[in-house]
């Protein structure tokens, strides 16, 4: 626990990107998210922490409507992205997901070449005019994901042939390539070793300059290292939400304190 040093970090901007109000999620009879209000700022890393099964992933998946793919899942409440309701009947979730990218817990590169993995998003969204454009996007995205130097000589090799950490960075590059405005990450480091974790963490800190990042993490050390805002969930409720420094040094709710000191988990 000695790495739980909290780093003071200036929050560059505090423009509101996502505003969720009164969000409730039901899986058939399970009430997984209970009346949650969260504001997510632009160019900020927001961490969701909490014990397993408390609904972090569920809430994260509300933000790009990935929950739509689960038949039994029902979401109510308002989630505004730049003041537009993402659950408005006229919203096309496909367009939304181009704006709100996602990186999953388990690295899931497509069984295609590294190049095609990264180029897929730009291709389906028509972001490149020609091959040179596309090459450029692929290179920039891979550089942004700190993977370029490792893979530049084997872009045509399968993405599934990379190591776990490289695969996860490839997935990040793939998500970044569509130029999303918000990047959602669901425990992106849980399948990685400490070195790969450190690389991804550095990367997330860089990504903050261009995106708003929401990251679910099991590790409080990680939350305190990389995030500016932290939300603590417990049994489907949002217990406490505030600046990371404040949550980790001076939590208001006794449950938050018990969790970060390791008494609930």
């Amino acid at each position: 626990m000695n790495d739980m040093t909290t780093i003071e970090r200036a929050v560059t901007t505090s423009e509101k990107k996502i505003d969720a109000k009164g969000v409730n999620v039901h899986y058939a009879d399970t009430h997984a998210i209970k009346n949650v209000d969260v504001e997510i700022d632009d160019k900020t890393v927001t961490a969701f922490i909490g014990p397993s099964g408390c609904g972090k992933s569920t809430f994260l998946r509300c933000l790009n409507r990935m929950n739509d793919t689960i038949d039994i899942c029902r979401v109510t409440g308002d989630i505004l992205l730049d003041d537009e309701d993402i659950y408005h009947p006229k919203v096309d979730p496909v367009q939304l997901r181009a704006k709100v990218g996602m990186v999953f817990q388990k690295p899931n590169p497509f069984p295609k070449s590294i190049y095609d993995n990264v180029a897929y998003g730009p291709r389906i969204h028509g972001l490149a005019q020609n091959k040179a454009d596309l090459d450029d996007i692929v290179e920039k995205s891979l550089r942004r994901a700190a993977l370029w130097n490792e893979v530049k000589d084997r872009l045509d090799k399968p993405g599934t042939g990379l190591s776990g950490g490289q695969q996860q960075r490839l997935c990040i590059a793939r998500a970044v390539a569509t130029s999303p405005e918000v990047l959602l990450m669901d425990e992106p480091c849980s399948a990685l070793d400490p070195i790969a974790t450190a690389q991804v963490e550095n990367l997330i800190d860089d990504l903050r300059s261009r995106f708003s990042v929401v990251i679910v993490t099991h590790s409080m050390a990680q939350a305190s290292r990389i995030s500016q805002k932290t939300a603590f969930f417990h049994l489907g409720e949002l217990i406490e939400f505030g600046d990371t420094t404040q949550i980790f040094t001076n939590p208001v709710d006794p449950r938050t304190e018990s969790y970060i000191t390791g008494r609930i988990g």
């Binding site: 367009q95 899931n108 389906i124």
Partner: protein, 447 residues
């Protein structure tokens, strides 16, 4: 934790000497392996036995005895008007040609000094296939200018003589056989000695049409192979797209509710419906109701499509389900539509499984007999069908049905033909399976 372990007695035996428990466990494992090996061994033995018995019975169908003699195509008999007009000449039937061949054979034997002891002219003629006059007639009608010339003609030997060279007919069996006498066999042997008869590869068995029950030596598989081929084209063109589309819809798009559950159960049920039921269905719907022609490959193909669909759907759904959901999530998470995620990512990964399922379904359909009997594909067909698409409506036979109808015929020479047809069918099935394996490899190599 320490409490629990202190209660259990410690094992004091050496690990070099296996204890009785381990020995029993190892023995049971060895027994299980032995059962497995025995089961596989039995299966392979049965397969080898089957292949050997079919091949040993059937390989002779690919050989055929021919008689080659010079024949004088006498103008007086074949073109009495002398104007070489095929329409006029067509009035001379095969009965007019038979004596020409008989005389040619007789005079050639005398010329060569081959004795015809105990073989009267009728018996001599019986050594030539009844098909031979028809073949010569067709040749003459197609080339009227050859009338009047003397040409070397190659004629089919009759079934019994053919059987003699293949070992099916012997001097002893000829004693008891009213269709052939030992004297004829002796003459045949002498003719072979003189180079007038020889046995060689029989392309006509693969390319020629069926022949009547009296002419096993002329019976071929050509029409049946074409019929089967046409049906497979129909099945492939209908069952693959319909089956794959239905599976994709059910697996990826359809809501999971009562209704789709019922559909799912019924698709599995359809796969278990006896094939003859599909034949009855085809008869009722495609022939009686829709008015499609009997014995036509289009009807057979439609019936086999119905039979093959469940197989393809089940295989396709299984391989779609085997694609990890994380791939779909990845695509959707990037803003791909459902359709894009399926067609760009899921379907290519499921392709090897879909192809294998399809080819297995096709192979099943190729070997299916019962429903075809009901829709009249068992009819005796000598006419080759036209090229598709019109040919799909012409009457044809089918390979397995041809095997079936040949086994029904009296002449023992048809047993050989039926086994030969089975070999052809097996060759097709094995090649289809090889194709499945090859396609699988090709698609899987894309990692």
């Amino acid at each position: 934790m320490t409490d629990a372990s202190s209660n259990t007695p410690r094992l004091t035996t050496s690990i070099i000497e296996p204890d009785p428990r381990t020995r029993r466990r190892n023995a049971s494992e060895r027994r299980f392996r032995a059962y497995g090996l025995a089961a596989i061994g039995t299966g392979i033995a049965a397969l080898i036995f089957l292949v050997i018995s079919i091949v040993s019975n059937g390989y002779t169908a690919f050989l055929q005895t021919y008689i080659t003699i010079p024949v004088e195509l006498s103008e007086q008999r074949l073109d009495p008007q002398g104007n070489r007009d095929p329409e006029e000449m067509a009035r001379v039937t095969t009965f007019g040609y038979a004596p020409v061949l008989a005389m040619a054979l007789q005079s050639h034997l005398i010329e060569q000094g081959i004795p015809m002891d105990g073989v009267n002219p009728r018996d001599l003629m019986a050594m030539i296939s009844q098909e031979a006059p028809a073949q010569v007639r067709n040749l003459v009608l197609a080339n009227p200018e050859i009338v009047g010339q003397t040409l070397d003609m190659e004629m089919l030997a009759s079934g019994r003589i053919d059987g003699y060279f293949k070992g099916r007919v012997t001097l002893e069996s000829a004693e008891r056989d009213s269709n052939v006498s030992p004297a004829q066999l002796a003459l045949a042997a002498a003719m072979a000695e003189a180079g007038l008869m020889d046995t060689r590869f029989n392309w006509a068995f693969i390319t020629g049409p069926d022949a009547s029950g009296q002419r096993p030596e002329a019976a071929g598989l050509g029409v049946a192979i074409l019929g089967s081929l046409y049906m497979m084209i129909v099945v492939l063109a209908l069952a693959l797209p319909i089956g794959v589309a239905a599976s994709i819809y059910l697996e990826e798009f359809a809501p999971k509710n009562r209704f789709t559950d019922i559909i799912e159960v019924n698709i599995s049920n359809l796969a278990a419906v006896p094939s003859i039921v599909f034949g009855i269905l085809g008869l009722a719907i495609f022939i009686n109701f829709a008015g499609l022609p009997q014995s036509a490959p289009i009807v057979g193909g439609l019936v086999l499509t119905l039979m093959t669909l469940p197989t393809i759907i089940i295989a396709t759904r299984a391989s779609l389900r085997a694609v990890p959901p994380s791939i779909r999530d990845a695509a959707l998470g990037l803003g791909a539509s459902k359709m894009q995620s399926v067609f760009h990512h899921v379907l290519p990964l499921a392709m090897p499984g879909i192809l294998t399922g399809t080819i297995i379904g096709l192979a099943q359909a190729l070997g299916e007999t019962a429903p075809l009997l009901l829709i009249g594909m068992v009819a005796f067909v000598r006419e080759f069908p036209d090229a598709p698409p019109e040919g799909l409506f012409d009457p044809t036979s089918a390979l397995p049905v041809q095997v079936f109808s040949w086994t029904q015929r009296a002449d023992p020479a048809f047993v050989e033909r039926a086994s030969g047809a089975t070999i052809v069918l097996l060759v097709f099935l094995v090649s289809m399976n090889l194709l499945a394996v090859m396609l699988r490899r090709r698609f899987e190599r894309r990692w």
